[in-house]
Structures are given as structure tokens and as C-alpha cells.
């Protein structure tokens, strides 16, 4: 599954050679497999200040089958059992002076982190701080977690979740996601939660059981992976793609026991046809994944209107039109609906030759942020996922130099897989992810681009 270099660097001779030459040593990432435990080792939970989430976190993790242990002594000993994850509850910060306790907890704990380990920091959002000193302390988490992400080795990741007062119930879903193999390629991310009604009683193995999910652009690549993962998690997937891709679309649908819907999402009547299909076959829809996207690369000065317009129509306007039609329809979106829109690293960092693509993908980020309050009122959510360098048929066609550089300039020193994007989307689609709304989650291995 991993790329050739990662395979080589993890072979006997490759390990020796890459060590001696000081070459990047990408790890084989721990990825989610149904039935496997949440973590390969115990999780250690510590606090900086008077944290309010420690007990919640411990309860959630114990419930998920993880072993929770107490902080280790600060003597720097690396003996004893290795940790699968390190969680810091930093919700008690009042001033930068409290941060030293974060250091005191994290340093010895991270020394004992296993390969593909997880560091997760929970903090209050800086925006709601009582004083500049408190805001500074909370904001410091940003720099801290991003730096830890860059220091970690062996496929380990570091992420942070900002948890405002009242959003404690929203913590469980992102907590489990960031610690599990589902977040293998999500690194250096900062997520902000919202208070929300979080349903409980979710089946951990089939969190999407009984849900109907639409995936656009599902005939191949990342879209096909999204369809597969949503189906694995229990959803009935309506796989959508343009009619000319119907051949491979049918194969994807049949492979996962879903249905194929051949539809050009840019057609004027596309939203109506999609809604009619969903009403007739399923009575409504729980999850919409706006994944369909195209590239028509050219330098801006050489780009014609057709290239600009076609990219905008597929990547942005269709997402807007279909989402608006679903909202206007009244009852086609079932209670607790989830919309996940695929953005891109290009939309955050920009990319030479991709003015049209980057503009459309940045537009997606603005769209989900603006729509979040309306979705929250309906107990629904809308989020975006921004993939970084993901190994697909498309990247296989890139010149080898561009591809190798593109895939190494991130903290995990490798490209991600379509399944990594799919896992993040499937997580955002879960009923339990009610507290994640209007966010854009990057799946980029903490790429240096746009960070």
C-alpha cells in the first residue's frame, strides 16, 4: 500500500542505507483495521493546570477499550511500557507560566511513545480567554503542537482540539479519531469544537449503520475509497459520477453493495434529480460527500475561460447548488445530517498553475464556515477535508522528481493514501461528530505547504 521509497526505507538494506546517508526514513503508518483495538499500547493522560476534561477523557478511552495510565516521573527514564498515545488536558491554563507543566508532562511521556503513536492536546479556544495572558497561553498550544508534530518520529502524530465550555460531550468522537489508526495521515491539525447534542449508543464497528450516504465522484481514486470506507462503517452508499464513468462506477457500487447513480452534477436539473432519486429509493439522506472535482491546470495568464469555468462548476458551484437544494427541500436531509466537502491543500497554500483549482478549493473552505450556523440549527454539520499529497492514479502520472519532493515535504515524509482521506470523511460523517462543524481538516501528514 505504501510507496516504493517507504517500502525500501523499511527493508533491511534500506534501513541501513537511509540511516547512514541521513535520508528521510518514512514509517509504515498504523492504519485502522476493523476489529483492532483503538491503540497498540496504553494511553497516558496528564494535565497542565486545573484541567476539566481529564475524567471525561479517561472514561471515553476506557469505554473504547484502551488502558489508561498515570503520568510518568519527570526523570527522563525511558524504561517500562511504551505508550500508544499521550493526551494532555490543557484546559486549565491561566497564563504562560502554566505551560511549563505541559513540558514537564509531555517530555518524559513522548520519550516512551511507540511507533505510530499519538500526541493529543486538549485546550480552551484562545478566542474565549478572560485575559491577554490566558489567550497567550491558549494560543501557545498552537505552536507547541505543530512543533511536536515536526519532532515526532516513526509515523507518530500530534494534534490539538480546542474545547469551549459546554462542548465537553463533543470530545469523545475527535478523541477516538485522533488516537486511532483512522487519523494515520492527519498531523499538526488544530480542531475547534462546538457544544452540540451528541447522540450516544453508536456501534463502534459500524458507526454509520442504517445511514444513507451520497458520494460524488465515486467512480475512482479518492471517491471510490470514500465509498468503500463509508460502506465498511455500515452506510448504504449511493455512488454518483458522470455517465461516461458509469462502467467503473458500477464496479465500485457492486463491490460495496451500494447503488450507482450516473449524474452530471453540473447539469441544471442535477440537484432535483438527486433529491428525487434519494426520496424515491431511500426517503432521505444522512450523509453527502461532495468529492467530485476536476483539474484544468494552466498558468493564469494562459488560462482560457473554459478551463476556469469548468473547474468552478464542478468543484464549487455544484457543491453550493446541491447543498442549497437539499436545505430548501425541507425534509430530504434526515435529522443529524452530515455534509463533508472535499477541499484541497491547494486551496490553503496555493499552487502554481492551479489558480482556478485553488480558488475553487479555497471557496469550499469559506462555504462550510459560512454554512455551519445554519446546519447547527438543524442539529446537522458541514465540514471540509483538505487532502495534501495523496497517492492516486493522478499523482502516478507526475514526473518522478516532482512526485518525490511533493510526497516528502511533510512531517510523515510520505504521501497519504486515498483511504486516509476517506477515514477522515467517515469520521466527520459519524453521528458522534456532532460537535465538529464548519471546520476544515487537513489530511496532509503536516505538510509544509500552507502550514
Amino acid at each position: 500500500m505504501a510507496d516504493w521509497y517507504t517500502n525500501f526505507a523499511n527493508s533491511g538494506f534500506g534501513t541501513t542505507l537511509t540511516k547512514q546517508l541521513g535520508l528521510p526514513r518514512p514509517a509504515v503508518l498504523r492504519r485502522y483495521e476493523p476489529g483492532e483495538p483503538l491503540l497498540p499500547g496504553p494511553v497516558v493522560i496528564g494535565s497542565a493546570g486545573q484541567g476539566r476534561l481529564r475524567d471525561t477523557v479517561a472514561a471515553v478511552l476506557k469505554d473504547a477499550g484502551a488502558t489508561v495510565v498515570s503520568p510518568v516521573a519527570a526523570d527522563g527514564s525511558t524504561d517500562g511500557e511504551k505508550f500508544g498515545a499521550v493526551v494532555l488536558d490543557a484546559t486549565g491554563l491561566t497564563s504562560p507560566g502554566d505551560l511549563v507543566s505541559a513540558h514537564d508532562f509531555l517530555a518524559p511521556a513522548i520519550k516512551r511513545l511507540r511507533a505510530s503513536g499519538r500526541v493529543l492536546i486538549l485546550a480552551d479556544p484562545p478566542q474565549t480567554a478572560d485575559s491577554p495572558a490566558q489567550a497567550a497561553a491558549r494560543q501557545a498550544i498552537d505552536g507547541l503542537v505543530r512543533s511536536i508534530g515536526k519532532e515526532l518520529l516513526n509515523g507518530s502524530t500530534a494534534n490539538a482540539v480546542f474545547v469551549p465550555e459546554g462542548a465537553e460531550a463533543s470530545v469523545a468522537s475527535p478523541l477516538k479519531f485522533f488516537l486511532s489508526g483512522r487519523s494515520a495521515y492527519v498531523d499538526g491539525q488544530l480542531l475547534t469544537l462546538e457544544p452540540a447534542e451528541v447522540p450516544n449508543g453508536e456501534d463502534a464497528a459500524k458507526p454509520l449503520a442504517g445511514k444513507v450516504a451520497v458520494v460524488t465522484g465515486a467512480a475512482r481514486g479518492i471517491g471510490a475509497a470514500i465509498a468503500e470506507v463509508l460502506a465498511r462503517d455500515g452506510a448504504h452508499v449511493v455512488a454518483v459520477d458522470i455517465p461516461v464513468a458509469g462502467d467503473s462506477l458500477a464496479k465500485v457500487a457492486n463491490e460495496i453493495g451500494g447503488t450507482a447513480l450516473q449524474l452530471d452534477i453540473t447539469a441544471d436539473d442535477a440537484p432535483q434529480r438527486l433529491i428525487e432519486h434519494l426520496r424515491e429509493r431511500h426517503g432521505g439522506v444522512d450523509v453527502i460527500v461532495h468529492n467530485a472535482g476536476i483539474t484544468r491546470d494552466k498558468l493564469l495568464v494562459n488560462m482560457d475561460a473554459a478551463r476556469w469555468n469548468s473547474v468552478m462548476a464542478v468543484n464549487l458551484q455544484a457543491q453550493l447548488d446541491i447543498t442549497q437544494a437539499l436545505l430548501d427541500d425541507g425534509d430530504i436531509l434526515k435529522p443529524g445530517a452530515r455534509i463533508v466537502c472535499v477541499s484541497s491543500q491547494s486551496g490553503i497554500a496555493g499552487n502554481r498553475g492551479q489558480t482556478n483549482y485553488a480558488a475553487s478549493k479555497a471557496g469550499v473552505i469559506g462555504m462550510v464556515r459560512a454554512w455551519a450556523p445554519e446546519f447547527a440549527e438543524r442539529d446537522a454539520t458541514i465540514n471540509a477535508v483538505a487532502p495534501g499529497f495523496i497517492i492516486t492514479e493522478m499523482t502516478a502520472k507526475m514526473p518522478v522528481g516532482t512526485r518525490e519532493v511533493g510526497s516528502r515535504i511533510n512531517s510523515l515524509q510520505q504521501g497519504g493514501l486515498p483511504v486516509d482521506v476517506a477515514e477522515t470523511i467517515a469520521w466527520l460523517s459519524q453521528p458522534g461528530s456532532a460537535g465538529v462543524n464548519g471546520q476544515t481538516v487537513r489530511v496532509c501528514g503536516q505538510s509544509m505547504l500552507g502550514a
Binding site: 462502467d247 457492486n254 450507482a260
Partner: protein
């Protein structure tokens, strides 16, 4: 007394269909077998209706041109498909009527309550056609196979002559007359005085209607691409009377001295490869699966004419079948919202309609007091027919049933459609669908 009562029947629902785009002979599908195409078509249907891993009560399909290895074509296709392997299947063959006949057979079993769901299909390839060896060579090869000693084998081999090696290629002609189907149709066109221009006009309309239907996305849920082909290869959106007028008549061999042929490669269907399938079910089964009911198959009828000695045209059997079916249902020819008359040749459609309008013919041949009358041309083959799509023999019925059912559904409840398909051997298969 209950035992003497006719068993209660129900009307079979048409849930939807799928076909692969039709390809011109020896082109895109040249390397595809009947089984390849039928399997892909069934899988497209399975994907459209979420049937992967599910059992359908029966799959019925057939091909007109079959290899000896295709003896269990439909069952083999099912085994290669995503349907549950416990789905039974059987083959049928009624020349160009195969696809519609398969749908009728499935519908009748549903009507009787013997099955709840079924797939009717058809496939044909004129590219991967079966070649047979001549009877002389075949007999020698059989005796060679059964020979027990080396001596006997050598004896058998010694009987082979170079002239026996030439294979027998299947031809689109009638075994009893030696005439190509097009030559038969040209005789009928001549008899009914069907002009060249009206044939070309019907042809242009077929291409335009089908091109427009593709443009508005009508085929989005009826067709699944195959081997890189996304639309029917024969479709010519830019077809025009001027272009068609330039083509030379090709079927005038059997015409009387001095008579001019009117049928060309443009206003006749070309040899085509393709497959189609239709999902039928009881209303209850469809509801349980959350699937739509587009229309019901109300009634069907077959007929055959004696084109060898009886003086009737080879493709005129539907003309006889329709009035019989109308009478049984208390309907007139004008009681339909859509008409699907298979365009084997443009002249066939025109001769069929002309015969229904002819008082003498209707009285003498069909035994009717009054002619059936004319039909509103704006309701005829509204999304194009075989002249535009092409005509892989056994696949045409499924194409028409699915497209018509969708059209009736879109037009609203209570709409009625008539299907008329002519077939080799002087046969015809017709049916009524109603939304």
C-alpha cells in the same frame, strides 16, 4: 367451486433497465463475447438497483447468434455477475423478438405468482459471431473423434478435401428464401409504395430524437458505458436528408424489373453488438426493496405470417398481432400515449402504419370491420429507435421496454405505450405497457 376459478393474476412491474451502448459490428466490441456483454449489462443493472449479492428469482435472456459453448449463456452470465449465485436462469430465442419475449416470460411468471422478481435480457454480437464448419467436414471430424484405432483416424483424416475447410459464416438471411432480411423488407416497401424520402425522414427523426434524449440526460439511468463507449456508436446527431439522399439503394436484388430500390445503409439498421436487461417484479417486491415501479406490462401477443408461400411480407407479423391484443383489451390503436415500433428498417415502420390505415387490407388480411387507423407521429419512437441506436437483435426488446417504461412513468400515471417488434422467420412480438 374455487378449483374451477381462474387463478388470480397481477400485473408485473417494470422497475428499470440497463444496457450497454450499442456498437457497430467489428468495432469497439469486436473482442467481446455475448457472455462478456450480458454479464456487464446485468452488473450495470445490479449496480443501479443495489442488487449486489442478492438473489433474483429468475433471469431470462437470449442471443440470436450463439456459439455452441453458449448453450447456457444466461446462467453462465449470472454466475459471472454480482448477483447471488443461487439465481436461476434460462435462455430463450425468438430472433429479434427475443428481448421482448424474455420480458413477457418473466412478467407472466410474476403475474402468476410463481416468482416475485426477474431480469429479462438479450445480447448479440455480429463481430464475435460463431463460425461453423460445413456438414461434410463436421461429419468427418465427428467420426475422427469417435475413431478407436490409429488406422481409423488416418482414414477419417484422408477424407478431408481442401474445399471443406471454408467455414460457414452466419448470414442475416432467411433460410427458406435465401433473401436477406433487407431484400424482403424492400419487397414489402415496394408493395406498399413506401417512398425513399419518407424513409429518410423517419431516419433523420430517429437520430435527432435519440441525440436530443442523450443531451437531456434521458439515458443516464438506462445505459452504462462499456469498453470505453458511452453512447451508441451508430448515432449520427448531424444526420440530414441531404446526407441520406446521397446513399445508394442496397437491397434491390429481389425487386421486379425496372423497380427502383429505396432502402439504403442509412434508412436500414446496421449490424450491431450490444446487450440490454430489464428488472421486473411484483409491486410488493419493488416496495420491499425501495425500488420504483415505472410501468406495468399489461398484455402481450405474438403472431407469425407465411412469407414463404402466403404472399405476406417477412416483417408484417406485428401488423397481425396488434389488433388481436387491442381487441382483447378493449382498446383502439389511438388509445396510446407512446408508440414504439422497432425500426428494423424505416420502411418497416412505415409499411406497418400504412397497413393499419388500409381498409381493404385490414378487412381481408386482418379480418377487421374497419381499419385500425393512423397514429400520431409525434408519439412515435420519441427517443429514437433502432435506426439511431443500432439493433443487436436480442437486445432491442430490453432497450425498448426500459426506455418506454421510463417515458410512461415521467408522463404520469395511467399513460399507455404500445411496443411492436418484427422478427426473422415472419414473426412479431407486441406488448402494452401502462404507467
Amino acid at each position: 367451486m374455487a378449483s374451477n376459478e381462474k387463478p388470480a393474476t397481477r400485473k408485473a412491474a417494470i422497475v428499470g433497465g440497463n444496457r450497454i451502448p450499442f456498437a457497430r459490428s467489428n468495432s469497439t466490441y469486436a473482442q467481446a463475447s455475448n457472455q462478456d456483454m450480458l454479464t456487464a449489462t446485468i452488473d450495470g443493472l445490479v449496480a443501479r438497483f443495489g442488487l449486489a449479492g442478492k438473489k433474483v428469482d429468475e433471469v431470462v435472456a437470449g442471443a440470436v447468434l450463439k456459439h455452441a459453448r453458449d448453450f447456457n449463456l444466461t446462467r453462465e452470465s449470472v454466475l459471472g455477475s454480482k448477483l447471488d449465485a443461487s439465481t436461476p436462469a434460462y435462455d430463450v430465442q425468438q430472433a429479434c423478438g427475443t428481448g421482448l419475449e424474455a420480458a413477457i416470460l418473466v412478467a407472466n411468471k410474476i403475474a402468476l405468482g410463481q416468482i416475485e422478481s426477474g431480469i429479462a435480457g438479450g445480447v448479440d454480437t455480429t463481430s464475435d459471431a460463431p463460425l461453423a464448419v460445413g456438414d461434410d467436414l463436421r461429419r468427418i471430424l465427428i467420426s475422427l473423434n469417435s475413431a478407436k484405432t490409429v488406422q481409423d483416424r488416418l482414414k477419417a483424416i484422408a477424407r478431408i478435401r481442401p474445399g471443406m475447410i471454408a467455414p460457414e459464416i452466419p448470414r442475416n438471411s432467411e433460410p427458406r428464401t435465401g433473401l436477406a432480411m433487407g431484400e424482403h423488407a424492400q419487397l414489402t416497401a415496394h408493395e406498399w409504395e413506401i417512398g425513399r424520402e419518407e424513409q429518410d425522414e423517419l431516419t433523420v427523426r430517429s437520430h435527432q430524437n435519440m441525440a436530443a434524449a442523450y443531451e437531456r440526460g434521458f439515458f443516464d439511468d438506462l445505459v452504462t458505458p462499456f469498453l470505453g463507449l458511452a453512447r451508441d456508436q451508430n448515432l449520427r446527431p448531424d444526420s440530414s436528408l441531404e446526407k441520406l439522399a446521397k446513399l445508394k439503394p442496397v437491397f434491390d436484388k429481389a425487386l421486379p424489373e425496372g423497380a427502383e430500390g429505396t432502402m439504403t445503409a442509412g434508412n436500414s439498421t446496421p449490424l450491431t453488438d450490444g446487450a440490454s436487461a430489464v428488472l421486473l417484479a411484483s409491486d410488493e417486491w419493488a416496495a420491499e426493496q425501495g425500488l420504483p415501479v415505472l410501468a406495468h406490462l399489461v398484455d402481450a401477443q405474438t403472431a407469425a405470417v407465411d412469407y414463404v408461400h402466403g404472399g405476406e411480407g417477412l416483417l408484417m407479423a406485428p401488423v397481425y398481432a396488434v389488433p388481436k391484443m387491442l381487441a382483447r383489451n378493449g382498446l383502439s390503436l389511438q388509445d396510446f400515449d407512446f408508440y414504439e415500433i422497432h425500426e428494423a428498417f424505416a420502411s418497416t415502420v412505415l409499411a406497418t402504419m400504412k397497413a393499419w390505415e388500409d381498409p381493404a387490407y385490414c378487412k381481408e388480411k386482418l379480418g377487421l370491420d374497419a381499419p385500425l387507423g393512423s397514429i400520431d407521429r409525434s408519439k412515435l419512437n420519441v427517443y429514437g429507435s433502432s435506426l439511431a441506436a443500432g439493433h443487436p437483435f436480442a437486445a432491442t426488446g430490453g432497450r425498448i421496454v426500459a426506455s418506454l417504461a421510463k417515458t410512461l412513468h415521467a408522463a404520469g400515471p395511467g399513460k399507455r405505450g404500445l411496443i411492436s417488434i418484427c422478427a426473422a422467420g415472419g414473426q412479431g412480438v407486441v406488448a402494452i405497457l401502462e404507467s
